[in-house]
């Protein structure tokens, strides 16, 4: 770490101070000096080395990486006209150039294979490449579209020298079909600029950095065009010229941010970066040698996949709560279904149990040709002690936990068909309760509305009130209803869409069954059946 003088831009996490202060601070040339404390403890600042991987042909290479002598070009929409963004060697040899309208390129080379740019695909490629680069260092940064930064200082010894390490990265990229340029510098921005300027250098000593950067053309920096134009107007064409300008004036003219960028590139200011972490997802495929329709055989394959999942999770001390199986068919769209459990688990036996329950009622439209298992985000495994098999309490030994029961029921019937209940403090009868999904947590009840204990409520409620026929002004339900108790007037909820104004009665029909009915006090004055005293 470079103990530079306090710069607000480097104080990670602290709130940004007012702009004025920032300017006055950063306009002075930061001086690199070692603090007395650091000298006393004998600690030397950790020197970092950044390897920049620049993939100029990523838009093309993300889509096609085989070079079989086919002329290819990627185009995208520029001002409404599809123009060539990038062409491969074969196309370039035939004269296709960057910025050609697609029609012109085709006229020049009718055999040209044109593909539209796919930014998503580029992103995916870059992410997977970042995952691949994690074999060289634990610190990978995705800097910009097409640029990866690898911090290598800690890996040099392991890979037996910087040259060998760089060679390994370069060979690995080549094997995957990427054309990349690599540079090494002590600062991330320095490495990026060197690479973008096309210098294949390896600067390990911070003292040599500034001179190397000074020789670079301005275009290696990612600055907006107007700034370039005005710099060119001043006769400045190299980074070194910029560095020689008066700092005060430079900041005033081009903004403090540009000045900070120069300082970071030359190592006068630290440049902290966040490293990329490959998400730990589990996906495993199993291609079947022949089409399978026998469910036992398919289940066997699924069990193999679950074993792989268990191995994967075991190594990481993780467990998952949700997994998804996809079964692919030749003609039909894939059959895909999730399985979830109450408490994250990784045991094959547990998941296989749920899978079998689900599978029993799963109609496969066609024989399977491949099976894929995907697992959600892992979470730390919380291990619980199991009951010993010879425990005396027979009942407990047999019993699965309630969580297991809910899982099993949900696996077969569906997550939303298994639920708990809780009460809600609300006067409208239909809103005084809610279902609680038990898969996530056990229900917790709100206190019921005051005075509720005294009111009569039926044990059965209809989801939707049922309109009642009326004869001689008296409601009918399996005979004429006689009102027994009431009215209990409920008039509430006017503040939302679903206000009610009802008189509730307890009513009995001639057979002696008791119901909870109400009469609307609003416009229709209709009678409705809402519940039953079961």
């Amino acid at each position: 770490m470079l103990p530079a003088n306090k710069s607000p831009a480097t104080a990670g996490g602290s709130p940004t101070p007012p702009v004025k202060e920032q300017q006055s601070l950063s306009l002075e040339l930061p001086v690199v000096k070692t603090t007395p404390a650091a000298i006393a403890s004998g600690a030397t600042p950790v020197a970092r080395l950044w390897l920049c991987i620049y993939l100029p042909a990523l838009p093309l290479e993300a889509l096609h990486r085989d070079n079989e002598g086919i002329a290819r070009a990627v185009f995208d929409d520029q001002d409404g006209i599809p123009k060539v963004l990038l062409a491969n060697d074969v196309a370039r040899a035939a004269g296709v150039r960057l910025g050609f309208p697609v029609n012109a390129a085709l006229a020049l080379l009718p055999a040209l294979e044109l593909v539209e740019r796919d930014v998503q695909c580029e992103r995916r490629t870059l992410f997977s490449l970042a995952g691949w680069a994690e074999q060289f260092t634990s610190f990978v940064v995705i800097e910009a579209p097409g640029i990866l930064l690898l911090e290598l200082a800690g890996s040099v010894r392991l890979f037996d020298g910087m040259q060998k390490l760089r060679q390994a990265v370069s060979t690995g990229l080549g094997e995957q079909g990427f054309s990349a340029s690599l540079s090494i510098a002590p600062t991330p921005l320095g490495a990026t600029w060197l690479t973008k300027a096309g210098r294949r250098v390896c600067i390990q000593d911070a003292a040599n950095l500034t001179s190397a950067l000074s020789a670079l053309p301005l275009t290696c920096m990612d600055w907006p065009l107007p700034i370039y134009e005005s710099l060119y107007g001043m006769g400045i064409s190299r980074v070194g010229d910029c560095l020689r300008l008066p700092r005060q004036g430079f900041a005033k003219r081009f903004g403090v941010a540009r000045l900070l960028e120069l300082d970071r590139a030359t190592g006068r200011l630290p440049d902290p970066r966040a490293s990329y972490r490959t998400p730990e997802y589990f996906i495993a495929d199993h291609d079947l040698d022949e089409e399978l329709s026998n469910s036992d055989l398919i289940l066997n394959v699924c069990q193999l996949l679950l074993q792989k999942l268990e191995q994967f999770l075991l190594k990481r001390q993780l467990a998952v709560q949700r997994i998804r199986f996809s079964i692919f068919h030749l003609q039909h769209p894939a059959t895909s279904f999730p399985l979830s459990c109450v408490q994250a688990d990784r045991a094959v036996k547990h998941w296989f149990d749920l899978l079998r329950i689900h599978f029993e009622r799963l109609p496969l439209p066609a024989p399977a040709i491949a099976i894929r298992l995907r697992a959600g985000q892992g979470q730390p495994m919380s291990a619980k002690t199991d009951v010993l098999q010879f425990t005396k309490n027979d009942k407990q030994r047999q019993s699965l936990s309630i969580a297991h029961l809910i899982e099993r029921l949900s696996a077969r019937i569906g997550n939303h068909s298994v639920h708990g209940v809780s009460t809600v403090a609300e006067h409208r009868p239909q809103y005084a309760w809610r279902p609680e999904l038990t898969l996530d947590r056990l229900p917790q009840c709100e206190a019921m509305s005051p005075g509720f204990e005294k009111s009569r409520r039926p044990l059965w409620m209809l989801t939707e009130p049922q309109p009642l026929a009326v004869r001689d002004g008296r409601p009918l339900y399996q005979g004429i209803l006689s009102l027994e108790d009431g009215p209990e007037r409920l008039e509430t909820g006017w503040w939302d869409e679903d206000g009610i104004a009802r008189d509730y009665f307890v009513a009995t029909n001639p057979k002696g069954a008791r119901f909870w009915i109400y009469r609307n006090r609003g416009k229709d004055r209709g009678w409705y059946l809402h519940g039953m005293f079961g």
């Binding site: 699965l400 309630i402 019937i413 298994v418 038990t438 057979k511 079961g534």
Partner: protein, 224 residues
Amino acid sequence: MNDALHQLLKNRHIWRGTEQAESSDWQGLASGYPRLDRHLPGGGWPQQALTEILLEHYGSGELKLLMPALARLSQINDPMDDSHADSAAGWIAWIAPPFDPYPPALAQWGIDLSRVLIVRPKKASESLWAAEQALASGNCAAVLLWSETLDDGASRRLQLAAEKGQSWAIAFRSLRALSEASAAALRIKVTAGTNGTDLGILKNRGGRPAVIHDYAAALDQYPV
């Protein structure tokens, strides 16, 4: 009578036709309705067995009949038994109920709502499967099942599952099932009359059939 014969008579599967089985070694679950308890062997609902309730219409007072016993089951917290601390026994599963069991009313009856599990299968066969799973899991103190397709074989399965999980199975069926055979330990017909609800005990393992008029008469400690 010799001791061996006495021992035999204590088995709840054996009783003499003229009297109720001796209840020294097994206890029924008190229903909360003394007039009903008097007719049930063991002084209450048969535990670890299937009870069938036959009724013509919902709303005949069929849930009210069970509420005091269910409330007690849901609140059982065995402080002496540490091993049960997280096994969370005492769940009450409602499988394929015809309407929504209304939580505020359940709470009025004293049922612990955090122990209520409602399962709504889409097919009748799934209801039976779910009931069997819930009964055999050993977590549910009671499993209430509404099913129109409960044949003799299915009721036998429920009976076995109830024994395995030491749970109480309750099946609600229509009066049409009167003529069908059933493996239930207790079959009760519930009919709402103009003067309260009448119970007809049709089959009573360890006891005798009986008719009880207005079973809840003169009990005003309960909600409606």
